[in-house]
């Protein structure tokens, strides 16, 4: 399936877009202090939030702690979500990724993590393992597969690894500017492959 076909599909209840609109609506209710709506947000998003944080931080206890912080921030700052600037899912996952990255980039965490992630090549394979679960994931895997190796490695190290792009450049022994443009080129290619509507 290519991006154009996906774009033509009307968003139904099971599609990513349909889910996004529903999440928008739920966040609106959360803004007014609706705990049932927040519980629905939790049920839908705790898995992706925890999964992403776990991927970046690795340590289960710390990941759980950061997941709790992120979900609480969603509750606290729901009124600041602005649908005109992006989807509700992206708003939440941006908070999650930012928090996870803050945690691993703090000096204390660095040494321990480097010991655990001595094998950067593992990142891409792990994606393949996790995916099987759902259709979105299948599409992501397919689109990741369409990138060249440097693009794929740079993107997975930066996003799932939580490394800054200068660190990615160092890990891959590649020039800084090359990593920067490979990440952008790769993401643009994935965007088109995934049929993202922006």
């Amino acid at each position: 399936m290519n991006g154009r076909e996906l774009r033509a599909v009307r968003p139904g209840p099971g599609s990513a877009e349909g889910r996004d609109q529903d999440l928008d609506r739920l966040l609106g209710l959360v803004t007014r202090g609706d705990k049932d709506a927040f519980e629905a947000v939790y049920d839908r998003m705790a898995g992706p939030v925890y999964g992403l944080i776990r991927r970046v931080i690795r340590d289960p206890a710390q990941s759980e702690e950061v997941t709790q912080e992120v979900l609480l921030e969603v509750w606290r700052t729901a009124s600041r979500f602005d649908a005109a600037r992006g989807s509700a899912t992206t708003w939440m996952m941006t908070i999650a990724h930012r928090r996870a990255v803050d945690r691993v980039r703090s000096a204390a965490a660095t040494a321990e993590r480097e010991r655990r992630c001595a094998q950067p090549e593992a990142a891409a394979d792990e994606v393949a393992e996790t995916v099987a679960a759902n259709l979105d994931a299948e599409r992501v895997r397919h689109c990741l597969g369409g990138l060249n190796e440097l693009q794929r490695e740079s993107i997975t190290l930066a996003y799932y690894g939580g490394y800054s792009y200068p660190q990615v450049a160092q890990l891959l022994g590649t020039a800084l500017g090359t990593v920067k443009t490979r990440i952008r080129d790769g993401l643009i290619r994935m965007r088109d492959c995934m049929g993202v509507n922006w």
Binding site: Y50, S79, T130, D136, I183
Partner: protein, 246 residues
Amino acid sequence: MKFGRDDLHTLTGVYALDAIEPAERARFEHHLGRCRPCGNEVRGLAETATGLAMAAAVTPPPQLKQRVMTAVDLTRQLPPADQHRSRPALRTAWTPRLAAVAAAVSLIAAAALAAVGLSTRGELDRARAQNQAIAAVLAAPDARIKTQATTEGGTATVVMSRSEQKIIVTTAGLPKLPPAKVYELWLMGPPSTREAGLLPTPRSGKTAPVLASGLAAGDRVGVTVEPAGGTTRPTTPPILVMSLSG
């Protein structure tokens, strides 16, 4: 490091992946405020990154839900943001130098006003000395001014001079605090967070300038609500974190 336009534009990818260092992030966000195509590209790439995130979903430990729901019961939510300043990241750019001079004049006036009501000679001398120190910062060739809304309403204005290693902070329209509480300023640096003084009692909603020394590279300015008298470390989440770069 200096970046040309093209260099900045290619940062959309690493920005969307959060793979950018803080100093460069601030510079890029400044650029984003003026570059519509960059903004659109960042949005698309951020949505793409969300696809990567969703693909990593894992069922969380079952006890987490109860903990989060309990914490929710104890956590107050933020009120809706003022529509007119709903995009702080794109609106907090440093004002050009000319505007800084104009604002500086009103700052000095505010400082002079603060001196009214001082009774003893010693108080007056101290107020004068502070006004001179403030004037020195304002006169510094690298003085720059920036205003940002706090999460609780109202705004803080910071004049900074790297050469003087000082900042001056004034505020307007911050929520009134009970007598047992005070607004405390912080210099939040990569190595440490340092006390930067307490905001005085506001007059007509505005606080007289507070001067803080020891500004270091990478510092951000923070404001928290603390018990009267202040604390040595922030004990509540900041209502303002202002980046001084970009």
